[in-house]
């Protein structure tokens, strides 16, 4: 198996707060890797550091052999890494179509962008109905679809998803997870951060458990679902 993302001994501070303590994790090509943990464990911080929204205090983030910590953040998406941030962060005052176009901002292949736009709208028919509506007027679930669709518009090799199920109805949660699996089957590697540990572990090839800024456990997704400690701490059993 080929490594696509390798995080080694990552440390992140917020002022005096030491948020991430020497985290190492690996994502192989084609995998779905889940990162679970309680509120404030540092999941979002790790994703933010990978894509340069937050500065690291030390460590290494290799993506396809390139050190991301030494890369200008705005160049990362063009290297094939898309990040759907926690809380969606769609551009509220732009239309659905404009948001999707922003996902392809760095691309120059106009014709292919058109096709990809049509593909995304086919994948999320609800967005198609609302393509001229301002993103700020969409429901939470629709905004989540838009955020995922916008990320897909960059043609990523790896997709980082931060709590895509947050605030969605059980039905929509299922829909989003099905989408994640579909996208993965089409060849996109996934690094998934979730509070919904049960769903996240059930679709994951491998998973990491994060506690107060450190990885405390790693293993196969299915195996973790059966693990007593995980069940007690994260699955409410």
């Amino acid at each position: 198996m080929k490594e696509i993302l390798k995080v080694t001994d990552l440390n992140v501070n917020y002022g005096a707060i030491h948020a991430i303590h020497g985290v190492s994790l690996t994502v192989n090509e084609g995998e779905i890797v889940s990162l679970i943990g309680a509120n404030g464990a540092g999941k979002t911080t790790i994703l933010h550091t990978i894509t340069g929204l937050t500065k690291a205090a030390g460590g290494s983030v290799l993506f396809g052999g390139t050190e991301l910590l030494a890369t200008e953040p705005h160049k990362i998406v063009a290297m094939g890494m898309a990040h759907v941030p926690e809380g969606r962060h769609v551009f509220a005052q732009m239309t659905v179509t404009e948001n999707l176009e922003m996902g392809a901002y760095f691309r120059k292949d106009k014709d292919q962008i058109e096709k990809d736009l049509a593909d995304v709208l086919r994948r999320f028919p609800r967005l198609k109905e609302r393509s001229r509506q301002l993103a700020g007027t969409l429901s939470g679930g629709e905004q989540q679809m838009l955020a995922v669709g916008r990320a897909l518009m960059s043609h990523p090799r790896i997709l980082l998803l931060d709590e895509p199920s947050m605030g969605l109805s059980p039905l929509l949660v299922k829909e989003i997870f099905t989408t994640i699996e579909d996208v993965n089957r089409e060849g996109v590697t996934i690094l998934l951060v979730e509070q919904n540990a049960k769903m996240a572990l059930s679709i994951a090839s491998r998973a990491y458990v994060l506690e107060t800024g450190s990885v405390v456990m790693e293993g196969e997704g299915k195996a973790m679902l059966r693990d007593d400690n995980v069940r007690k701490a994260y699955l409410g059993a």
């Binding site: 894509t51 340069g52 929204l53 200008e72 953040p73 705005h74 160049k75 990362i76 998406v77 063009a78 898309a82 990040h83 941030p85 809380g87 962060h89 769609v90 551009f91 509220a92 005052q93 732009m94 404009e98 176009e101 922003m102 996902g103 901002y105 760095f106 301002l134 700020g136 007027t137 969409l138 429901s139 939470g140 905004q143 916008r150 960059s154 605030g167």
Partner: protein, 292 residues
């Protein structure tokens, strides 16, 4: 006839305010800061034109271009040296820095060019006489209105149609998300300062051509009025700055004509306060609720 003539004066004064306010509002929209030095960039632009045309007799068009180039460079320089290092700093620190830059420009101008008031050579002169000479409108006024219209149309097309313009809107809404899309946030901010400062140069030349006196503090009052216009129309909104500028010019002119010259600023601010009481986001300020 005097009513109509006041309207024309108001609209042309308002056009100048609008051009300044557009720069204010764009910078605010993207950098989320009030660039109090914006008014002083106007003064620098006017000085460039003053020397080029008034002293060295260069053709007006060349002087205007020179003013635009110098102010654009100045805007980029101010942003890069003074504001960029403070990107993560508290907004109060940025505000104080902006006031500092404003004084720096004023004092710098005083040092270089003297504190005395100079007589500006208008880039166009003469006036158009209508209705058998009962209504006069100066060519400068007409030029100001035309410039404002062109600027407004260009900016609207730029932000709605072009890649760079869309990047600007994305940055103004959400810098983190914009960066994740591959937008270089720093260069987008720099670009916005460049555009705003170029507009300030144009406004400076128009203003000093309409009211031909120039000193190092010439830019500060129009700067504050244009800021008011931007808030009036809804800060961050391009059509808002346009509307706010024009209305402010009209209100000021009418207050001067029918109430009192000394009280005109007070009247303008009274209207501003009333508008903000009714519409806190300004006339065209948008409020899109964020869903969680």
């Amino acid at each position: 006839m005097s009513f109509l003539s006041n309207i024309l004066t108001g609209v042309s004064l308002g056009s100048i305010y609008a051009i300044i306010a557009l720069g204010y509002t764009m910078v605010y929209g993207i950098a989320k800061m009030l660039n109090f030095a914006h008014g002083d960039v106007i003064m620098v632009g006017a000085f460039m034109c003053f020397f080029a045309t008034g002293r060295y007799g260069l053709p007006p068009l060349v002087s205007v271009l020179l003013a635009v180039v110098v102010c654009t460079a100045l805007g980029i320089l101010i942003e890069g040296l003074a504001y960029k290092p403070l990107r993560e700093a508290p907004s109060l620190a940025v505000l104080i820095t902006a006031i500092g830059v404003s004084y720096l420009l004023q004092n710098g101008a005083q040092l270089l060019w003297g504190a005395d008031t100079k007589t500006f050579t208008p880039i166009v002169s003469g006036s158009l006489s209508l209705v058998e000479g009962r209504l006069n409108i100066s060519y400068v006024s007409l030029l100001a209105m035309a410039c404002c219209l062109v600027v407004m149309v260009c900016l609207t097309l730029f932000t709605s149609r072009t890649r760079m313009g869309k990047a600007m809107r994305a940055c103004s809404e959400d810098k983190g998300a914009a960066q994740l899309m591959g937008i270089n946030v720093n260069s987008t901010i720099s670009m916005t300062f460049a555009i705003g400062s170029a507009l300030a140069a144009v406004a400076g030349v128009l203003m000093c051509s309409a009211y031909p006196v120039l000193s190092p503090t010439t830019g500060s009052l129009p700067g504050i009025r244009a800021f008011t216009a931007a808030v009036f129309g809804g800060i961050g909104s391009i059509p808002g700055a346009f509307l706010g500028g024009i209305l402010l010019g009209i209100i000021e002119t009418f207050a001067k004509a029918y109430i009192s010259t000394d009280l005109s600023d007070a009247v303008v601010f009274a209207v501003l306060i009333i508008v903000l009481l009714v519409k806190p986001a300004g006339l065209l300020g948008k409020y899109v609720p964020e869903k969680v």
